[in-house]
Assembly symmetry: C2
Homo-oligomer: 340 residues x 2
Amino acid sequence: MSELRKDPIVGRWVIIDPELTQSTKDFSEPKEAIVTDPSTCPFCQGHEHMTLPEILGYRPPETQKDRPGWWIRVFANQPAILHIEGNLKRQGVGMFDMMSGIGAHEIIVDSPDHEKTYIELSDNQVEKVIWAYRDRIIDLQKDERFRYILIFKNHGINPGIKTSHSHSQLLATPVIPKAVKEELNGAKTHYNYKERCIYCDIIRQETIMKDRLVEENDHFAAFVPFAARFPYEISIMPKKHECDFSKITKEQAMDLSKILKSVLWKLYKGLDKPAYSFVLHTCPNHVPKETLWDTMQLDFHWHLEIIPRLLKPTGLEMGSGFYINPTPPEEAATFLKTIN
Amino acid sequence: MSELRKDPIVGRWVIIDPELTQSTKDFSEPKEAIVTDPSTCPFCQGHEHMTLPEILGYRPPETQKDRPGWWIRVFANQPAILHIEGNLKRQGVGMFDMMSGIGAHEIIVDSPDHEKTYIELSDNQVEKVIWAYRDRIIDLQKDERFRYILIFKNHGINPGIKTSHSHSQLLATPVIPKAVKEELNGAKTHYNYKERCIYCDIIRQETIMKDRLVEENDHFAAFVPFAARFPYEISIMPKKHECDFSKITKEQAMDLSKILKSVLWKLYKGLDKPAYSFVLHTCPNHVPKETLWDTMQLDFHWHLEIIPRLLKPTGLEMGSGFYINPTPPEEAATFLKTIN
């Protein structure tokens, strides 16, 4: 059973999950090969019995749960990083704080097609994936134990997942991820000072200046952040102010699918098929009555962060929080704009 | 010329350094092979002309600067991430903040021996290396442009360095690294509440409980942190309260060299020679008159963080600040204790 531990100095939560590796001393490449053969892939149609039961399926009405015919299928991951059963136990260990590893860890299979990567899916299919993110967030927001629902995708580096079949992941956690908490804090400070959303200010500057802008459409802007930590890092932000991703409209979802696919395609083609991750930053659930969050709807703005995995990180970043990026954001944006 | 850019939301500084890669689109493995042949290694004795001039040399009095005979040699790295020449220019770019890449980037060659890794050096030699860290910090503290002096070592993953010859690095920066700032904040909060140093509290608990303790001697304790982000992560802390590493005594330096070598040996032998990094967290320089730092000497405590590079990080950590560690810290400590 996993547990959550809090760093007593900086307040960062870590999931300690001994089930993830068979031996805690073996960090060599996984011996079990990644399944590239659809005949044994648990995420493929007809193999629904190889996964835990379907939590959500987008499928025609004449098809059955846990049977073929779906366009999108969601189920709990096995082994899960966090587990949905049980009560949230908080306990002290001497001077330290710990919590039971309660949460949810779900797989969202992006399409029934085993071969197609995210960027090869139709706009319509990616829109369905985005809608599944929304539906799962709305459902899990009802669970009072969860403070945050994190949607992410790893492409190319995906520990614990044994198939190459395209999928996204969801992690519902009893704590707010540190990166999001820092953004909430920073956004609040800006709002207190200027009475404006800092993300709206950034979107305005990036869409007017255009030197870091990679692409925009009616509802979204995609740009390389001014202080990008990683080469070709990209943020996608909705132009209309909204803190909660789950309020996305059908029209916005279509525009998001288009810009997300287009930007990932540029990375794929321009940078020789890099591994990448993206993480959705939306507002937390069940906002406690802390001053930090009393203006959250006004000052926070959901967005997507895309991180291509081009450089091997050294320990310097982890040990100091100091990032060194060899690619000026303006140069990265200029290059990506040329890729079609 | 590199520049420093500040993330407007979370306040994180990033070094943008286009000199680091020849092409900003080429992230394949470096074409220039790592020099394992001492005859062409710029860090070897007799090749002093292949580096920038010596800043510090520990050498017998009869030998000359930039000539063979040294035990430890320090010089500016080339290409440097930050440059020592020039004034510190702060400027706004629209709503964003930027600074010129003023700083220092130095190489500390750990020994004249090309073949020996850090753990194979004598205790006496590692003590000299530690003393060189101290001497360089004391010297650079005098430069009013620098807010922080970061000492670190990358072993096994070392972008930009073209030789396998053992060395440490120093980065003097006009900003305080985010990880250190967070520790200063957290330590201050604890002190305000308890009137005790949180690091002293942690050392007391770890040396009494012993379940995460890897090793201790008269002056230092080495343990796996309660909320370790990475498998087999280790902190080394001086038992006597001190915020400033440069106040280290000869006796402490000898004890530090012993415990550091021993712990690195345990990682090396127990985990099949992993790549690792360590980073020294000491107090900042030229503390501005901010309330954050008015009790720094009482509440902050210098320490060393060792990070073995066992897992390929996914984007989840970078995108959410949420770490998943498959190795319970108690198990990691128990295992390392058995390695001699």
